[in-house]
């Protein structure tokens, strides 16, 4: 504002060169031109040098046969699939471990973060030790800790540890029975969906009734009964169509059943534990950021400690927690690229293999950077929406 007043006092001396507005535009245009020219220069050089060095370029290779196998794939993939599909398999593996890690890290993080503020000395100290250990060790070492320190010392295949429900744990991972859905099992899924929808409706009605009359309704138990009870009922009605394929011992490995490899397990556990320690600190900071008067007032109204936390403190703390939480989610997703050290075929690993088999480094690195950028931007966008809904509504 001050500069405008100065301008008014000293009407332009005839030259627009001294006009800050014009100058601003000129500088911005110059910077944009320099930037575009710089990018163009680099791209042009890359193309020219690739041609001069007789290195093939372009993205046509994505449609060629890959020729290598990938151990973990959520979509059908064989060595006859294309390079493009191999990269897609890696991307899906990255997303699976990132989503699973984010959910687990958030749960552990909230429990530990709240635990650090517990009145119980033992809980407080245990949570503190957890945070200090995992926060101060590089994530790669945490991955190696789980991979070589915990999972690799499990017994060999022939001496697998038997667990309930016909599942096994050994050096090669975790083997679970796989469900085989028979005829009529669609009814179970429909029942599950109906149960969830009804539970949501019950919760909404109960909230409205509590707002209007102050009467409470046991929402939790009703929802549980609906979500579990309806599918079980459907299961019985459709004539028990579910059978299980149990893992069995063969020459080399356990075959059949559902297999979770030690690579996924160690990456998932390591990322969860590591990121949870940061989330715990963020949650603690958020809770401490809520004025003490709030919980004292809630206590004065007769709320129990659990309810104070759930209804008064955490909702307010969330406003402080969510923005830094987004950064942690992004970190976790990007740290998943450390999978390369332990043979989990994530995006970096498969795209790296494609890079080596085709030799097209520029294109592959570009694809990897773009994909991670898009994942991160999407995560940010979702978290921004959540943040906007949590923000203080000003009246």
């Amino acid at each position: 504002m001050a500069s405008q007043e100065v301008l008014r006092e000293e009407p332009s001396r005839g030259s627009f060169i001294n006009d800050p507005k014009v100058r601003g535009y000129v500088f911005q245009v110059v910077v944009v031109i320099l930037l575009v020219a710089g990018v163009w220069w680099v791209v042009d050089n890359v193309i020219e040098n690739l041609q001069r060095l007789h290195i093939s370029s372009g993205f046509g290779y994505l449609k060629s046969r890959a020729g290598f196998d990938i151990s973990v794939s959520a979509i059908p993939y064989t060595s006859d699939s294309t390079y493009g599909r191999a990269i897609l398999v890696g991307l899906i593996n990255t997303l699976i471990v990132a989503v699973a890690g984010i959910i687990t890290a958030t749960i552990i993080g909230f429990i530990v973060g709240i635990g650090r503020l517990s009145r119980n000395w033992l809980i407080r100290k245990i949570c503190m030790v957890y945070v200090e250990i995992f926060r101060n060790i590089p994530p790669l070492l945490v991955i190696f800790f789980w991979y070589s320190g915990v999972l690799a010392v499990l017994p060999v295949v022939r001496e697998s540890i038997g667990l309930p429900f016909g599942s096994f744990l050994n050096q090669r991972g975790f083997y679970l029975p796989r469900a085989i859905w028979g005829d009529g099992s669609w009814l179970i899924f429909v029942a599950l969906l109906v149960g969830i929808a009804m539970a949501w409706f019950v919760a909404r009605t109960a909230r409205q009734r509590q707002m209007a009359t102050g009467q409470q309704f046991p929402v939790f138990w009703t929802s549980l009964a609906l979500i579990v009870g309806l599918p079980v009922l459907a299961y019985a009605l459709s004539g028990f169509p579910l059978t299980f394929d149990f893992p069995k011992q063969s020459t080399f490995n356990l075959t059949g059943g559902f297999h979770i490899g030690p690579e996924f397990l160690s990456l998932y556990l390591a990322l969860s534990c590591y990121t949870a320690s940061f989330i715990a600190e963020i949650v603690r900071a958020g809770i401490l950021g809520v004025s003490k008067g709030q919980s004292e007032a809630a206590g004065a109204l007769g709320l129990r400690p659990g309810s104070i936390l759930r209804l008064v403190v955490v909702p307010q703390a969330m406003r402080i927690v969510i923005p830094p939480l987004t950064s942690q989610y992004l970190n976790l997703t990007k740290n998943s690229s450390l999978a390369i050290a332990i043979a989990y075929p994530d995006l970096t690993a498969t795209a790296g293999t494609v890079l080596n088999q085709t030799g097209q480094a520029v294109e592959n690195v570009l694809i990897m950077m773009l994909v991670y950028l898009i994942i991160s931007l999407l995560t940010s966008a979702v978290m921004n929406v959540v943040n906007a809904r949590m923000a203080l509504v000003e009246r």
Binding site: V42, V43, N45, V46, N49, L50, R52, L53, H54, I55, S56, G67, F68, D69, I70, S71, T78, S79, S148, A152, V156, Q171, R172, S250, T251, F252, N253, T255, P262, E263, S337, L338, I340, A341, I342, A343, P345, T348, A349, G352, T353, L355, N356, Q357, T358, G359, A361, V362, N364, V365, L366, M368
Partner: protein, 342 residues
């Protein structure tokens, strides 16, 4: 992470090289004062540091031979250990002058990757290794259906493996690591049943396992793996220097020139030996190549002839004890053959 870093650096380097590439590789190497050689990170017999920290192996000796040809001194060479994934980008981007890293010669690498393989310093083939103690009764690769197989990523091995199991209608579970040491550790820990790579490599790796006697290499060889050094395309002079260094090593063995007798051989009456060693009057063989005329003398002084190099690193003089087999000279029923140096 490192391969991405190299990828990005490579991309960056390709972008920034502009027109600086006018100088030839030979001039660059001479200006630097040493040869930058891309090798394996640690494979016994091919490229591995010994207990004194000195690099040993056929691949590193080959680089020493090239350095001897260029500088007359086999020690003027620096080694860049590269993983299978990093190797081509490192060569393409000019980080190394020569890639001598037990790399299989294929048409795709010769054409689409912008490389030129100079020859085959070791004829190899892919094999399988298992722990015979844990898997008694398995004595053929055809019994491996259902096995977990440890393999290094970004190799021809990975592709042959997929082809072999598919062709024989067998299933397997690949466990793919980026670095050789990681594959070794995982196999040793029992993460997989089978280790697959080039057979020479399996013998070398077996020595590093916790109980080498328990492991056996299965008889099947499932592929051709001609391993050799490669250079960048577009510099014929450098390509010729490296290629003829390889031929000179073979020619020296054929003529019986060894590290011990090379000085005596200079005064030999045999015109062929004199010609190869640059003792012919007014000879231009070396200078036409771009090196000095006593280049073969320098090479043999530095690393010996091909046979000596082989025996010292992978043959009877080494813990690997691999027989010459098809790597013998053509005069002894092998495949190693050099065009005449004249």
């Amino acid at each position: 992470m490192k391969h991405i870093a190299i990828g990005i650096l490579g991309a960056g380097a390709l972008g920034l090289m502009a027109s600086a590439a006018s100088a030839t590789t030979l001039d660059d190497v001479k200006a630097k004062g040493f040869l930058q050689c891309g090798t394996n990170t640690g494979l016994a017999g091919f490229a591995a540091p010994d207990d004194k920290g000195e690099w040993k192996g056929i691949d590193v000796d080959f680089c020493r031979a090239v350095a001897a040809a260029v500088f007359g001194d086999g020690t003027k060479v620096k080694f860049t250990p590269l993983s299978a994934k990093e190797r081509f980008t490192a060569l393409q981007s000019g980080e190394v002058d020569i890639l001598s890293r037990n790399t299989t010669w294929t048409i795709n690498r010769d054409t689409a990757l912008g490389l030129n393989f100079v020859g085959v310093t070791y004829y190899d083939g892919q094999g399988f290794m298992i722990n015979a103690k844990k898997l008694p009764g398995v004595n053929s690769a055809l019994q491996l259906s259902g096995a977990a197989v440890c393999v290094q990523s970004g190799t021809t091995t990975e592709l042959n493996l997929a082809d072999y199991f598919k062709a024989n209608k067998m299933e397997y579970n690949p466990v793919v690591f980026e670095k050789l040491e990681e594959v070794n550790a995982a196999y040793d820990a029992g993460r997989c049943d089978v280790y697959t790579t080039d057979q020479s490599g399996l013998y070398g790796i077996r020595l590093t396992l916790s109980s080498p006697a328990d492991h056996v290499v299965l008889p099947e060889i499932i592929s051709k793996e001609p391993l050799g050094p490669a250079v960048r395309q577009g510099d014929d002079q450098w390509y010729h220097i490296v290629k003829w260094t390889y031929f000179a090593l073979l020619q020296a063995e054929e003529l019986g020139i060894t590290q011990a007798n090379v000085e005596e051989m200079k005064t030999s009456d045999n015109p062929e030996i004199k010609r190869v060693l640059g003792q012919e009057a007014e000879t231009k063989i070396g200078t036409d190549l771009g090196v000095s005329n006593d280049w073969v003398v320098n090479i043999v002084k530095a690393v010996g002839n091909y046979g000596e190099m082989f025996e010292r690193n992978v043959g009877t003089g080494s813990p690997l004890k691999i027989a010459r087999g098809i790597n013998a000279l053509w005069t002894k029923g092998g495949l190693q053959y050099a065009p005449p140096i004249r």
